[in-house]
Amino acid sequence: MLSQADRRELDDILKKYPDKRSAVLSALYIAQREKNYLTDDDIRDVAQALDMTVTEVHAIVGFYTLLRKEPTGKYLIQVCTDLPCALRGADDFYRRLCRRQGLPPEGGTTEDGLFTVEEVVCVAACDKAPVAQINLEYHEHLTDEKIDAIIAELREKSTEGVTAG
């Protein structure tokens, strides 16, 4: 659901365009940023805010891979295994990561619901392989140790947040 603050943010974005619907991807990003995926209510909210039909917005969600309808972990780790990265060991890097996180080779979400790991196609960082995006931020020149450290740090941060909250 879009909060009042979200709606104000969206209003600012709308100023960029002569047509409201141009803001649909921005609006969907806003709607999914907290939980990393979109619910039916999010889609209805966005449709209503932009004078679009829910089927149109839903089709857009299905069309773009960064918009997600499946429940996703708090941190989405997307490892590129496309050809240039694979030539530099990304396939094995990804499989090892899944194994260490107790996930099947095709990826998935960790038991604590914190991390979703999946493989993606090219993310424009081929010279810095292996590479992953974690919640759409680049992490490059990765090694097993490096990614484990990042994951450990994020995990710690999350549990801290829980105790503090």
Partner: protein, 422 residues
Amino acid sequence: MSLLQEHVLLRHRDIPNIRDIHVYTAHGGYDALRKALNEMQPGEVTDVVKASGLRGRGGAGFPAGVKWSFIPKDVKPVYIVVNADESEPGTFKDRELIEGNPHQVLEGIALCAYAVGAEAAYIYGRGEFRGPFRGLQQAIDQAYEQGFLGENILGTDFSLDVYTHLGAGAYICGEETALLSSLEGKLGQPRNRPPFPAQVGLYGKPTVVNNVETLTNVPPIVRHGAEWYRQFGTEKSTGTKIFCLSGHVVRPGNYELPLGTPLRYLIEECGGGVPGGRKVKAILPAGASAPILPGDKLDLPLDYESVQAAGSMLGSASFIVMDETVDMVWAASKMVHFFKHESCGKCSPCREGTYWMEDVYHRLRDGHARPDDVDLLLSIADQMDGNCFCLLGEFSLSPVRSSIRHFREEYEMRVKRMGIGD
């Protein structure tokens, strides 16, 4: 390492912190814009770009100045859309320009807008560029503050607003009409052409769609003139080009070189050659979408004409190098998977053709291939050829056909393995 005394595009490699507007202006930044606004008519800007021979760096290689000259003079508003949806496997040059030298990109946009009479520009970046676009937005804000963007730029009548816009994960949006649909908030599916964007583009208005790198070339062209620019490159492929080098090389990365530089220089001098002294087996010169070149083509000059004559395309100049250990059936299947994954599903040849090709590759991988499977792949490719709605479908054929053409024996081995181990 470089054939250039100084970079024309990757200037941040020569000048630290040029992403800051003060550093940029201290090194001649925005002089070209000042020159254009004070001394040149809009048509003259287009003329100098035409005379420079600058060709679109996104992949199609269409002359940029000619594209600009298609914009009608009597229809308003006119839009500029900057294609930063860099999604071709092996391509990462626009990202470096945005991160390292953003003001040259913005100055190029402003020059283009002045030339075609546009008052708004949208920079469409792939969704993964959230981080790089934060920096870009800072650069835009700086440019507004310093009066290089916004109302009455440099005290003239010329005004321009520049906006950023992020996509959300769809390779097809790199195709210019799909990009426009996406920017309008529709599905990122290509449109019928004609009409071309120059006539009916964003929101139905005349629109120039140019790649980031293309526009980054414009400020030096306007500043130093067409003749200066033509000193780089060849007669028909003028200027410098950023070559994205990835795969089996010691030093992958972006390298700016004059067009026409031999492939060997890129791989061996720039990239430090193949690790472990292994041999180059194959090269993809334009990511996944252009035919594979066999490893014996290292003396090929890297300009549009020569690469085409060698049976491939320069495209976005994304060179993926594969050494002798690479299984070419595996490599081709990776690329076919990419295209199947990115097919939008609108036209049946692409939607189903990529599906069936991947299905055959799975059989090859899993040892269930049939004797006629290689011919089946070629037959699917032949029949998809020229029959898809947009170029994505056509692109998907390149890795299949070219890998079979040059490495058919690897396919045949897979086929013969059928039954082994049963």
